[in-house]
Symmetry: C2
Subunit: 160 residues, 2 copies
DNA sequence: ACCAAATCGTTTGTCACACTAACGTTCCTC
DNA sequence: GAGGAACGTTAGTGTGACAAACGATTTGGT
């Protein structure tokens, strides 16, 4: 049945390694995230957007106009990648990029009315996807999951 | 404070969208997985391995010799990517690839003794990483998280 | 017995994302 | 006023998920 050498494995080994993959927490996390991301991206593409577009719009809407570097810190997007994200958003008329007179190194990024409308649309869209992803869980289970994941994220992360 | 048009947003809107990103489950999942993956990969690289190496070795050890296509189904690795994974494992002497006389389309992949030893090493290594990733959680919380994630994964997945 | 469809291993290529390094410009500090 | 830090930007790396097509086989239906 198995090509492993069973005579070498202690009974505890066999218990511990019987279904390694299914029980490996880090793998579960990866798989769940992959599936979730796949659904999210599918929906976002249909709306002509990407994950990062939403992150930036939501951050701007919550905290107001900000420099690209600050957006980078808040969203976790590298500032080198932020350039093209802002380019795309600006091209679509969803944000405005203007130089900061108070600090000529910086740009000031601000959401436009159109950007705000777009954000509200994405809100609904993402709520729908999340609902689908979390479908197998009851509402209290969803809360619990969010709690646990937040604990994980808050620990290791200086980003966000 | 915010450049969103507050007069347009109902009070429920403001509550619901105040901290969109922090409360977005799909994003929490992504972030947690990214951080976890980062740690996992760091450790695996130091051992000269990759995520998929472990997945294949563990699957072979659990179910015995299998074709590449079957490994692909069990691990979720695309069969086009499986080729190079097996190449790498075979180069390191961790698995053996031989044609299947009963079905000449297939190869039979089997773990070697060396591969089994390597797997046990990776087991320990990954247990350590998992322990680190889940550090902020109590043991019952870890179980709960595994339960919830398994529910998510089992639902959407034909893979695994 | 034959032909169509399915399966397998493989090659090639695409796309997005995480991440690094370096640049010129501007600001801040001492 | 000199040195270092922060900013926006460009360029490039590596990897993982995924699609498409191929020749060689095997399988199923008629």
């Amino acid at each position: 049945m198995s090509n492993s050498t069973p005579d070498m494995a202690s009974s505890t080994d066999r218990l511990a390694t019987a279904a390694r993959l299914r029980n490996l927490g880090t793998r579960l996390l990866s798989l769940a995230a992959i599936q979730s991301d796949r659904l999210v991206n599918e929906e976002l593409v249909r709306a002509g957007a990407r994950k990062w577009h939403y992150a930036v719009l939501a951050t701007l809407d919550e905290f107001g106009p900000a420099s690209q570097a600050e957006l980078s810190r808040r969203t976790g997007i590298y500032r080198s990648d932020m350039v093209s994200v802002i380019n795309e958003l600006a091209d679509r008329g969803l944000v405005e990029r203007s130089p900061n007179p108070a600090d000529r190194r910086q740009n000031v990024i601000a959401v436009t009315k159109q950007g705000h409308r777009h954000l509200l649309k994405l809100d609904k869209l993402l709520a729908g996807v999340e609902n689908e992803v979390l479908a197998p869980l009851t509402p209290p289970e969803r809360e619990q999951l969010a709690r646990l994941l937040t604990a994980l994220v808050d620990r290791h992360g200086q980003n966000m």
